[in-house]
């Protein structure tokens, strides 16, 4: 069953388009990473899905509910951990629990205190006395205590130390997906989340450049390095070549949709002494795609 569906979503701030008719469907239990450069609209998409802002066009549904027309029910079942801390500075964790618990039908106080202990968040210290990272951990604990069916994470690792990052990325997210919680996260920490994301979406200039299973992406995007007999000026153009570099007799290009036959076809007009095919990391794939995209 699709837990997150959006179709043709568009949003502009004044004359600046941020999202241009983006569409996707995310199934239950999936972990989907939304990657993009600063200011491309990741947070905007998160807020639209959560019903905090309205799109200019298009529709969205979480757990079959429209967040614009059913915001209360959506938010009782979907949690959003945003990039910035919007907690009341005068409250502490205990006060926050007293404030929020009545609003969520599935609130689990014991689970909240368990997460507080696990993430080492003091329960009696005011929010404005917490460090940035601790605030983020508190926000995470609050979100998890409501036992959401869908978790929207906007830069979930900001300000966290390496130990906690690892804890969140591997242990926490794993346990959530084991329970069937769908996770849709936006982040710059591509490398950190590469190992847990089932699917990758790259947002650039308002559109989805990439929307694929992680395994498919890493399998299909490859770097080809070839040594030629004679130096060449340039690599022949091909729609599947994402980027290319020539240095004397060394030719290197990144191919989307790698197959040996395709490599052979591209190098057919050259006298190739030898060539190698290597994989790219997800960050490298991200850089390659976003560097190529100049906006349409």
């Amino acid at each position: 069953m699709e837990t997150i569906t959006f179709s043709g979503l568009s949003k502009s701030y004044g004359r600046v388009p941020v999202l241009r008719q983006v569409s996707a469907t995310i199934g239950a239990g999936q972990v989907v990473g939304l990657f993009g450069r600063n200011g491309v609209g990741k947070t905007t998409l998160m807020r639209i899905l959560y019903g905090m802002i309205a799109p200019d066009a298009g529709s969205a549904a979480l757990l079959g509910l429209d967040p614009q027309t059913n915001p209360v029910e959506v938010r009782q079942r979907v949690a959003l951990v945003s990039e910035e801390c919007h907690l009341y500075p005068w409250m502490d964790a205990t006060t926050l629990e007293a404030f929020l618990a009545p609003l969520y039908p599935k609130w689990d106080g014991a689970l909240f205190r368990q997460h507080l202990a696990g993430l080492e968040v003091p329960a009696d210290r005011r929010v404005d006395a917490l460090s940035r990272g601790t605030k983020r951990k508190l926000m995470l604990a609050l979100a998890l205590a409501s036992q959401p069916e869908v978790l929207l994470l906007d830069e979930p690792l900001g300000g966290l130390d390496a130990v906690v990052r690892e804890q969140i990325v591997t242990t926490l997210i794993q346990s959530l997906t084991d329970r069937g919680v769908t996770i849709f996260l936006s982040t710059h920490e591509i490398e950190q989340f590469a190992k847990v994301c089932d699917r990758v979406i790259i947002l650039s200039h308002g559109s989805f450049l990439v929307d694929r299973e992680t395994a498919d992406l890493t399998a299909q995007v490859r770097r080809i390095t070839a040594t030629l007999e004679h130096p060449v000026e340039a690599v022949p153009a091909h729609p599947k070549i994402l980027s290319a570099r020539v240095h004397g007799t060394q030719v290197e290009f990144i191919l989307d949709g790698y197959t040996p036959e395709l490599v052979t076809a591209i190098l057919a007009n050259y006298k190739v002494r030898e060539h190698a095919v290597t994989g790219l990391t997800l960050p490298e794939i991200f850089i390659t795609f976003t560097s190529k995209d100049t906006g349409r």
């Binding site: 009782q76 801390c85 009341y88 006060t95």
Partner: protein, 653 residues
């Protein structure tokens, strides 16, 4: 909802505590400096501290969220916007109730009288701050101070708190300027304040809801425009509701009591008068003194209406809008001078003296302000009126007699200055083209020229001294109260006492030959008999009254008499008896005709048209035309009319 309200209460708890301490501290300071007067306490607590707190609280409701950066968190809660908006408002109202309640207790402790707190819908004033009242501010009733003003301040600042920083301050400045303008024009003092504040409150609430609901994270720069536009729409709708209520109140003719004089119009086919009717619960305006336009009686919640009753209509007809009062018909009966109290729907302004159409009440022109008509001086183009003007400096009030002439500027012909206004009376004597007035600093009546304001002494000792007046263009006959003698006033001669004319003589008018007819007492024909009343004639040469020989057999004992303007007919009705009958006698032929009247005591017979009579009984007015022998009812009055009520109305005295 409960959790939202509790959160607001916790968030503002410190502010509440500080304000309560400030209130208590200010009271203690007053006590320390021996200034603990309950009027000062009321002013300090309810006109400064509590309103300031209310404004800050309202402004803080949303702005605190914006400044703390918690509005997105609030917007992200699984609570719909309606609950968020209501929760904040409910919490703020609860806090205000607490603060105002404590301040109320402090005021009582400081000596303010305890009062029943209602919503100001027609209640009587209880808390009055005199030094503000003298400056023309509305009377601050408990309902206003403790309910309506805090409500409108809270909702206004709540609305302002949803707008970008700096904009509410700008809007507040505009609001203060508007209030100052309304105050300077006395409009604030003359509105139905609870209703106006209620409309404002609703407008701010709807506008704030519209802004809050549509402004997603309060980052949209167009929310100011939306807020202002929605406020304008709401105020327009509120204004429409106000106008509708005003129309409803205007059309509801409630039973009331007659106030002021009765005017006869259309040759006796109608009468015009002022009716004082109680205001509806949605209609009362702050009391505004009719004479001076000052707030002098907050209990005045009556409306004045100009009504006419006419032949062929069974119910009275309102002339013009309510608030048109004190009508005075012009000699030709087509125009009336009146006092207009209402300028805009539901707003009573300082009284204006106007000329209006007698039939529709449509106002032609405004002659002056804070003035009322006294008399037309012979023609419709000359009007004598009374005007009140506040004097700068010592603050006294000038009472002026003024004359308005068509095509000319009004001129003042007499002025008296004192702390309080005078109710100057004036009697116009057309035979002399002079006015009789009693200057406040004199003990007797004086002649005053309406042309140049020249004063000349008269032999008459004062208004209480005059019992009756009969006059026409040639002669004025004045009867003093002390029953000394009638006095004659004529052009070219000094006023003289008519020692030969009995004080029981009643002057009727001139007959067809121009002779002045009267009813005079003659000795009884037999010894020890009662004097008889007969028709007589006043001889201007001898200054005596003689019985009319040709009507010697006409006995008028115990009869009220009226002479038609043509002098041809005499109408008589028994005085003090409700026989239901009258008589009309054609003087030349001595033909008599019976007139059927209602079985009520006849109080006055007034001549109308050429030959007609308007007969006033206790509660009715009937018109009789001797030519056609037709008798029709013209009016019925809500309360019994005495002889003196009609007499003083119909006479120019």
């Amino acid at each position: 909802m409960k959790t939202l309200i509790m959160k607001e209460l916790r968030e503002h708890g410190l502010h509440v505590a500080l304000f309560l301490l400030a209130g208590l501290g200010s009271i203690l300071l007053l006590g320390l400096f021996k200034q603990l007067d309950h009027e000062i306490v009321l002013t300090l607590l309810f006109l400064f501290e509590a309103p300031l707190f209310t404004i800050l609280l309202g402004h803080h409701l949303i702005q605190s969220e914006v400044k703390q950066g918690t509005f997105p968190s609030l917007a992200a809660l699984p609570v719909n916007r309606w609950h968020l908006w209501i929760g904040k408002l409910m919490a703020a109202l609860g806090i205000c109730v607490l603060v105002y309640g404590v301040f109320y207790g402090l005021a009582i402790m400081a000596g303010a009288p305890a009062c029943q707190i209602d919503l100001g819908l027609g209640e009587r004033a209880f808390w009055i701050v005199p030094w503000l009242q003298t400056r023309g501010l509305p009377v601050f009733t408990p309902g206003l101070l403790l309910f309506w003003i805090p409500l409108v301040l809270l909702t206004a600042s709540f609305w302002g708190s949803m707008q970008p920083a700096g904009v509410p301050a700008f809007e507040a400045i505009i609001g203060v300027v508007v209030i100052w303008l309304l105050w300077s024009q006395r409009i604030l003092a003359a509105m139905h304040l609870p209703l106006a504040l209620g409309i404002l409150t609703i407008a701010f609430l709807i506008s704030s809801w519209f802004t809050f609901r549509r402004a997603e994270l309060l980052t949209d720069p167009w929310r100011v425009g939306r807020a202002l536009l929605s406020l304008i729409v709401c105020l327009a709708l509120g204004g429409g509701a106000w106008a509708i209520l005003d129309q409803v109140a205007d059309k509801r003719l409630l039973a009331g009591r007659m106030d002021g004089r009765i005017q006869v119009m259309d040759d006796g086919r109608g009468v015009l008068y002022t009716m004082r009717t109680p205001a509806e619960w949605f209609d009362p305006l702050q009391g505004l003194g009719i004479l001076t336009g000052d707030i002098n009686d907050p209990d005045q919640f009556d409306h004045f209406r100009c009504l006419s009753q006419e032949q062929g209509r069974t119910i009275p007809r309102q002339i013009g809008r309510r608030g048109l009062t004190d009508p005075l018909l012009s000699p030709d009966g087509q125009t009336m001078a009146a006092v207009a109290l209402t300028r805009a729907p539901g707003i009573r302004t300082a009284p204006r003296l106007v000329l209006a159409d007698r039939r529709t009440g449509a106002i032609h022109s405004t002659i002056d302000h804070q003035a009322r008509p006294l008399a037309f001086l012979g023609t419709r183009d000359r009007l004598l009126y009374l005007r009140y003007t506040h004097q700068t400096g010592d603050g006294g009030i000038a009472t002026e007699l003024c004359v308005h002439e068509t095509g000319k500027s009004p001129r003042s012909i007499y002025t008296a200055i004192d702390e309080r206004p005078f109710n100057l009376q004036a009697l116009y004597l057309p035979c002399l083209n002079r006015l009789l007035i009693q200057p406040p600093d004199r003990d007797s009546l004086w002649f005053l020229s309406p042309e140049n304001g020249e004063l000349a002494s008269s032999p008459f000792r004062g208004w209480n001294w005059i019992r009756k007046v009969w006059q026409d263009e040639r002669l004025a006959l004045i009867l003093p109260e002390s029953e000394e003698a009638w006095w004659a006033v004529e052009p070219g001669r000094e006023p003289r006492a008519l020692t030969e004319v009995a004080t029981t003589t009643r002057f009727l008018g001139r007959d067809a030959k121009g002779r002045l007819l009267c009813v005079l007492e003659v000795p009884a024909p037999e010894p020890h008999g009662l004097p008889e009343e007969v028709l007589g004639i006043f001889d201007p040469a001898t200054h005596r009254c003689q019985p009319l020989p040709e009507n010697a057999a006409l006995r008028l004992n115990g009869l009220i008499c009226g002479l038609s303007r043509s002098g041809r007919y005499l109408m008589t009705c028994p005085a003090s008896q409700s026989t239901g009958e009258g008589r009309v006698i054609e003087l030349e032929t001595r033909k008599e005709a019976k007139v059927t009247l209602p079985r009520e005591v006849v109080t006055n017979i007034y001549s109308v048209a050429r030959d007609g009579f308007l007969v006033f009984t206790e509660r009715q007015a009937w018109r009789h035309d001797p030519e056609t022998a037709e008798t029709v009812q013209i009016a019925s009055f809500p309360e019994p009319m005495s002889f003196w009520t009609i007499e003083s109305s119909l006479a120019t005295f």
